[in-house]
Symmetry: C2
Subunit: 376 residues, 2 copies
């Protein structure tokens, strides 16, 4: 009988996960170093501690029947320690190990028979030339571990630039990835239960702005056969990982019509927020169901959706314009309770519900809606 | 700028209200005498105090920009005190005064030109005969104040029984209401903004079991013109009350096709739970929007719904059978986090999402789904 869920990480993903878990009657304890974290504000309790604080992690394990995490850049040693102590952690440390490491991850995806962008490891400045020869240029240098929202990434167009990036990274292991001339960026949100059942949401289409997700359109405006293929790839990856929980597979659709896997996130994902407002069982509920051994729900969309991230701009911490925004009955607003609206920080999002096709006029409306908001 | 909502009352209605308010980014402080109340478990903070504890009520007023309540049997003196101190309370004490008092309420409804059941006040045993003559028998004796879920009610079929009920009530002021031979029980969930705009959800059809709501069907299976008339009656009542917030008007549809108002609740209502899962903006979000001076959202249903209350049976505090229940993808489950599943206590509910007509086969499925659950 699972009564209490432990969540490592107190950001907005943990918050939205907790709101669903509470609705379903679970107690939630979150571990995060920052007091009054977005997730801690809605959880039953927050343990304020670093992610690698073994005593705190053990306490979380003791006090919950199952532990999960809301982002993958947590201390894997802590997760392994919990597992060794006999606590259930889902997804497992094995999944985490692969998805924390861009090199392992891409190698794993290829091992599943699925295409990725061309890549090469760089472990010394001497590797730069060979790596660049393998991937071609321009390419993207990324740290193998850590980094998100475009942090720890450098676009390079010469071997010299690769070497400079290596110096800038101060010895952190790097991966070089060929820059893809994509037609669009896609993601598939899926969930896998402990019984091996996998459900995949309709494919989402993403637009980034300087490495940060700006907009998601669901369902993606792509050929049905490509959408099915992307879902199959996500299923194969979930099966291969043996993950239990919600996960996200990000892909590029090249101009040549090829699907290349870019990244896996072993958790609910920003590009799956649309599922909260457009489906009866969101990516968060699928995650709760998966980790609590409840049956997953075959996804069904009430309507289409355009999700727009609301970023801080550094001009103030009070969101203004919600009155104008909410005059549009197609808008559902989510605000994360972060105190400081630092520039480009994810502060909230909204979903615009769309019944017909999602065309340029709809996207213009969504941008216009976002423009009604400001920080004061 | 409203940042913090104060909620008097920590039950499931406050909990569901808080889950929405948190999603929208508000802080929530709840006041309830019971520690770890269902609402307190999801709020930022709970003030543990009696509803008539003036110091605690003042603290709630000081620490929130607006105070609301999740049930109407709270101390009106506390609400008036808050108002005198200059705090905003919504709905106002004026609305509360009318809706706390069955006699004032029915008189008010008639004053709006809207039909109610026949009624008569009983302030002494001597009134019994005249009251019974006015309403006819059988009738229902109800306490004028307090009482919910069928508590404080007696069905009577003789003047003698009316007198006995009066004695049993130990001098509490009573109202006698003619028993209506109804075709069905209906409710309209509506919300009124501070700007006077009123929105009404599709009419719901309710089935009670011994005074406790058992099932709600939405939309109600009645003629469209009757549904429109019921919504108009609810709007007229909201306008007359000048209420700001979500409210519920319960009605009887008589076998003769007449609509009679039975009761008003100045708050979100059990029979409006269906709005969480079948519409983009639930009765709870409409309430938050109304009290925070945000625009209301014209209701729109993604699909129909059958809401079934999950009651305790006194056999245990652990809900069993959720795995079987959730194997049906049309079910959305809500559990309130109450520790003790006392017999007939409201512990949770589920909504069955229905795309086609809600016929007997669908209702049988909903009952069957409820039958999968038990307490251990």
């Amino acid at each position: 009988m699972i009564e209490t869920l432990g969540v490592i990480g107190g950001g907005q993903l943990g918050r939205m996960l907790t709101l669903v878990a509470k609705r379903m009657g679970y107690r939630v304890i979150v571990l995060d170093p920052q007091e009054h974290s977005p997730c801690g504000q809605v959880a039953d309790e927050q343990i304020v501690a670093a992610y690698d604080d073994r005593a705190a992690i053990e306490e979380l394990g003791h006090r919950s029947e199952i532990v999960t995490y809301e982002f993958e850049n947590i201390d894997i040693g802590s997760v392994e320690h919990l597992e060794r102590c006999g606590h259930r952690v889902t997804p497992s440390s094995g999944v985490l190990r692969i998805t924390q490491d861009r090199l392992l991850e891409k190698t794993f995806v290829r091992g599943c028979g699925i295409a990725t962008t061309e890549f090469a490891a760089i472990s010394s400045a001497l590797d730069a030339e060979a790596a660049a020869a393998r991937t071609g240029l321009p390419a993207i240098v990324k740290t193998i571990r850590g980094g998100y929202d475009g942090k720890g990434q450098w676009r390079v167009d010469s071997v010299e630039a690769v070497r400079r990036a290596f110096e800038e990274a101060r010895g952190a292991p790097l991966i070089l990835e060929r820059e893809v001339d994509f037609a669009c960026e896609l993601s598939v949100i899926a969930a896998r239960g402990g019984d091996g059942v996998i459900v995949a949401f309709p494919v989402a289409e993403n637009a980034h702005d300087n490495g940060i997700l700006a907009r998601t359109i669901a369902p993606a405006r792509i050929e049905p056969n490509l959408a099915v293929r992307a879902q199959e790839m996500a299923s194969a990856i979930g099966r291969g990982l043996g993950i239990v929980g919600t996960y996200c597979v990000e892909l590029f659709l090249t101009r040549g019509g090829e699907l290349l896997v870019n990244e896996i996130a072993p958790r609910p994902h920003n590009s799956g927020h649309f599922t909260i407002d457009t489906t009866p069982c969101s990516q968060y509920e699928q995650h709760v169901r998966a980790i609590c051994s409840l049956p997953l729900s075959p996804p069904r969309m009430f309507c289409g959706g355009v999700m727009m991230n609301i970023l801080g701009d550094g001009n103030g911490n009070h969101l203004a314009g919600t009155e104008a925004l909410l005059a549009d009955p197609t808008i559902v607003l989510h605000v994360y309770g972060k105190r400081h609206a630092v520039a480009r920080r994810k502060m909230g999002h909204f979903t615009m519900l769309v019944d017909g096709p999602i065309d340029d006029a709809v996207l213009a409306l969504a941008s216009c809606a976002l423009g009604k908001l400001s920080w004061r």
